[in-house]
């Protein structure tokens, strides 16, 4: 157990996310729910961390904040030096589009679009022209080993292949972080291991990966483990392998 209340501070590596004294309070009429109750967390370039915690620990809330889907009630949240807490909706959309690659438990692919077009989607919202878009999406498909399946629709792909499409989609804009929420939750163990191998590969290529999970086995794949309980960080430590 390294630090409990102070964030890990490293020197020499680029700081991507800086969270300090963050509270997220939901007002439910008579009661207030402190989903995040003073969180400090620094994430550096090429970190591979897993966030674990029982349900109700504030795991989802933290993930929403990290993914810029939501803003903190109070506290500091800087993403690459930009103050996320003060961003408006369009700026949040912009940062999600350029800096964050989402991978979801249930893949969240568009059912009627081909794999390639699913991968292109973030580029559409980045305003990239058609030709360039297709080329970048094709490259992303190749990186996850799906080049030959890129013209299939999600219902023609296996679960593992679908998650690869989702990972290609997360990679396509070359984001600062990849944020994966229970990426193996809908997959069998063997396929899950394959997906985790893919994440390890991306980590070795220099990507920054945040893994949100409640499975110890999956969390062991990461290199840093953050445990959350009752809206606070319980522990934050490197995983020795």
């Amino acid at each position: 157990m390294a630090n409990i209340s102070k964030p890990r501070v490293e020197t020499g590596r680029e700081l991507i996310i800086e969270i300090a004294s963050v509270f997220k309070i939901y007002d439910l009429g008579s009661t207030q729910v402190r989903a995040l109750n003073g969180v400090d967390l620094n994430i550096y370039k090429n970190d591979y961390l897993a966030i674990m915690g029982p349900s109700g620990s504030g795991k989802s809330t933290l993930m929403n904040l990290l993914g810029c889907l939501d803003t903190p009630s109070t506290g500091r949240y800087f993403f690459k030096g930009h103050n996320v807490a003060e961003m408006d909706d369009d700026e949040l959309a912009h940062i999600r589009n350029r800096e964050i690659g989402f991978v979801f438990q249930s893949f969240n692919l568009l059912p009627r679009a081909t794999a390639l077009r699913n991968v292109e989607l973030p580029l559409v919202y980045a305003g990239m022209s058609g030709h360039e878009r297709t080329e970048k999406a094709r490259q992303a498909c190749e990186r996850v080993g799906l080049a030959d399946r890129s013209h299939h629709k999600p219902n023609e792909l296996s679960g593992g292949q679908r998650q690869r499409v989702a990972i290609a989609r997360a990679l396509v804009n070359n984001p600062a972080i990849i944020l994966a929420d229970e990426p193996t939750g809908n997959l069998d163990t063997k396929t899950g291991e394959e997906i985790m191998a893919l994440f390890e590969n991306l980590y070795l290529q220099g990507h920054t990966i945040i893994l949100v999970t409640h499975e110890e086995d999956i969390a062991r794949h990461a290199h840093r483990l953050v445990r959350l309980r009752d809206g606070k960080i319980e522990s934050d430590a490197m995983i020795t392998k």
Binding site: L69, A93, N108, L110, R112, G127
Partner: protein, 416 residues
Amino acid sequence: MRLFISELIESIRIALEQLRAHKMRAGLTTLGVVIGIVAVTLMGVAINGINIGFQNSMNMLGSDIFYVEKQSWVGEDEWWQIKDRPDIKADYAEQLNTIFANTTDSTLALAVPSLQRGGNVKYEGNEVNRVWITGTTDKYVLTNTASYTEGRFFTEAEVNSSAMVCIIGFDVAKELFPGISPIGKKVRIRKATFEIIGVFARQGSFLGLFSFDNQAVVPITAMAKISSRHWGAEVRVKKQPWASMDEARDELTGAMRRVRGLMPGIEDDFAINETKSFEEELGPIKSGIAIAGIFITGLSLFVGAIGIMNITFVSVKERTREIGTRRALGARKRSILMQFLVEAVSVCMLGGVIGLCLTLAIKFGLAYVVPNFPLEMSPFLIFIAILVAMFTGVVSGFAPALTAARLDPATALRHE
């Protein structure tokens, strides 16, 4: 701008995919819009057709010609005013021409008499019934825009010598002389034999009531030999090109009063007709069609818009998680708003296109069943129909699209 175009293209693409995926649903939803568009375009088609048909008919009469007759075309005189009026006589034309010639700067160019009655035209075994027979002078051509498929009109000499010659209408020629030239053939009109010297080109019918192609024109002098009583007599008066209709009409009224010998203070006992009086009659008919059409259109578009609003709300609900995903991938609120607006507009446009096709089908169907019914489609109408459909889409899609855009991305992502 580039972002907007890229998102717009994406929105159209999604909308088309949705239409393909929910064909039945889209089809049923568009029904209201289809009916609305059919109503608005059919109304336009009818009004257009009436305008064009009317204009054609008016051109047959000539917009610079007065018709001096016993009674007014549009029936503004009561029957008891008309019954004691003296008949119009053919020799009024000559008297009028003399008056015009003696008036300095007369606004009127010339007067041409014409007598009408019905009769059969026979050639060998064939016969055409109820042909409209006109007796007139060689000046008739100056008051008429008709051209000839072959032959010519008769000359002054032929009128003076009561030559038994005639010019026949297009349908009469087609009926009596299928495949051969009628020129030089002898036909019997009532009790006398006439030589055909000309055939009028097709002119069509007048307001769908009376066909100019079913007529025969003979010299007024020859007319006397086949008929002593006429259905009608009129004097056609052509104005000078530089004169206005109103001043020419005033001069003609004065000239006719002189011919009739009316003392001041006595009312006119004749009518001077012109195409304008028809136009005044037509106005209320057109506005009647327009009011009925706009009412039906408004009602069905209202129902259609509610249907589309409803189905777009359903679509937003069904695709909440997709909306969340798109927001997570960087779609802004306005991207989502546009996506659902485009979707609603696409459904309406589909309805518009179906409606336009239906209208065209109805138009061709009607043209086949009742050929004389005037209908006319115009590019302007197509433009209006598309615009109306688009407007309906924007109005009905706005509320659901706004709901979609305002969804919280994190909540939408977790929606089951």
